[in-house]
Subunit: 310 residues, 2 copies
């Protein structure tokens, strides 16, 4: 097992604090989602709501939601608002996982150690649940409870749409599928991941700053942080896929190589990819210069992204 280590790293006490903070925050985000997707007890649509809840309430680290709330806290945004946006980003992320797991896509039976949504329900229900989760993400953002200023809400909607459509997450997934069984150049892999996973992670950081009505220069620093953290996350993910076990990951391991996908590891080697992840995390932290101790959670998160074991 390759150890990913260099200095500066995540100090043990910071790692412990972050773990606690992630656990508490994941609980709060889970609770927000639980409230926003109320179970339906009557009518045929109860099934799709059950599937939406199954797909979103199955745990997970809620890294995207954590990003929203940590950035929002830099600007003194009330937690109730930040949690709604965090829940919305997690719904959007969950919809993408539900659809990516479908037989026609990545055909994955396992997600976070549990049957994927189409295995637990059926394909039609999974397609519909994904569809409705995307819709609900926008509905939550558009609600005045998210922010009293319509300009803020529409900025959240607009940025989420751009991050998740054909020029963002969905485009990245298409590039990924188109690239299977073909060797992609490093530039192509970078672009694939900037869209497929990077865009939504960057949105999560941006959304906190939008909620906080940050000025343009501050927005740009947060965006720089989000961009690098997003890429670091994916590079580290490729390393994990190549080195960790299915038990650690809670999902099928080694799938990238099996699917003939071009990964950072295939292009840079495990050590090279790990070094790149580290460099990106350091650059992300540099973007936070000027923010005080209140940004320590975001700094720790950047290192955590590349040091996590699952």
């Amino acid at each position: 097992m390759t150890q990913i280590h260099a200095t500066p790293s995540l100090r043990p006490q910071d790692a412990a604090n972050l773990r606690d903070s992630l656990t508490v925050r994941a609980g709060a985000i889970e609770s927000a989602i639980d409230t926003l997707i109320a179970p339906v007890t009557r009518g045929g649509e109860a099934r799709v709501v059950d599937a939406m809840r199954y797909a979103t309430l199955g745990g997970g680290k809620r890294l995207r939601g954590y990003l929203v709330t940590e950035v929002a806290s830099l600007f003194g945004v009330p937690a109730v608002r930040a949690l709604r946006v965090a829940a919305s980003v997690e719904m959007l992320h969950s919809y993408s996982l539900v659809h990516d797991d479908l037989p026609a896509m990545d055909d994955d039976d396992l997600r976070r150690g549990q049957p994927s949504t189409h295995r637990k329900f059926d394909e039609a229900t999974a397609i519909l649940a994904g569809d409705a989760l995307q819709t609900l993400a926008f509905e939550v953002l558009a609600d005045p409870a998210t922010h009293p200023d319509a300009e803020v809400r529409i900025a959240l909607v607009s940025a989420l749409a751009k991050a998740s459509g054909a020029a963002g997450m969905v485009g990245g997934q298409m590039i990924d599928m188109e690239g299977e069984g073909r060797a992609l150049a490093l530039d192509e892999v970078r672009r694939l991941h900037a869209l497929k996973t990077g865009a939504l992670i960057r949105y999560a950081a941006d959304a906190g700053a939008i909620l906080g009505q940050a000025d343009a220069a501050t927005m740009e620093r947060i965006a720089a942080y989000g961009r690098d953290v997003g890429t670091a996350f994916q590079v580290a993910d490729d390393v994990l896929d190549a080195t960790a076990s299915a038990e650690e990951l809670g999902k099928t391991a080694g799938k990238d190589a099996a699917a003939g996908k071009s990964t950072y590891v295939a292009l840079l080697g495990i050590d090279g990819a790990a070094a790149e992840a580290r460099t990106l995390a350091e650059r992300a932290v540099t973007a936070l210069d000027g923010f005080g101790a209140q940004a320590d959670g975001l700094r720790a998160l950047a290192y955590y992204m590349v040091e996590r074991r699952s």
Copy 2:
């Protein structure tokens, strides 16, 4: 073939005017969509954009888009704004058709006389194209070019999300699939269609009034019109499915009965369903009392909904 006729009906000159008007408007909406989904020539995501264009630019009557623009014109909304919202509703509608046609859903090879999107491309691309069309619908609404007032744009986003999610269109599709092979009561069929097709048609009418910043009383009259026209459309659709040929419909005919679906026709008979459609159209027209000749297009549309042959 059962003739659907009663008085008052669509007068021949009104029918001719409406046909001309629908054709011209469909061209303008198609052109708006063509501009909003610009082809991508480089990168792996070109394929999903091609599929999005295929799914949305294949013609169709654009009844929902027509509704948006006709209602908007009552309030003097500039055409360029109304056409953006019309394009957005048509994208949302197209996404639902792409996903509904999938093998795991209605498994339909034919749409408007052409291969459905997953037949023309493949299932994965069709899933992604549908996903991205939904996203783009919200992105277009959120853009300042749609309306300079953020309150108007967020109202358009919020209402579209409510109309198309688990408490709207997707919920209706789930009820429809849950009800296959089981006899639904008339109340259940009404609710199914109020969600599955009614919600988006009503949204189309509402959106025109939102764009026009109509007062609450006027909004309610437009909503009443949209509600009845939406139901009339679906009842008439059931009649068409039972009586028209695949050639006339441009899609597989008689599918409802084959799928064991409970329809208005199954519950009311062809004549009974046709009479109900007619009653709904008349009530929709009554909701427009007080609007002058400028609402004649909407009145003609209500009758057209129940007299169309495809």
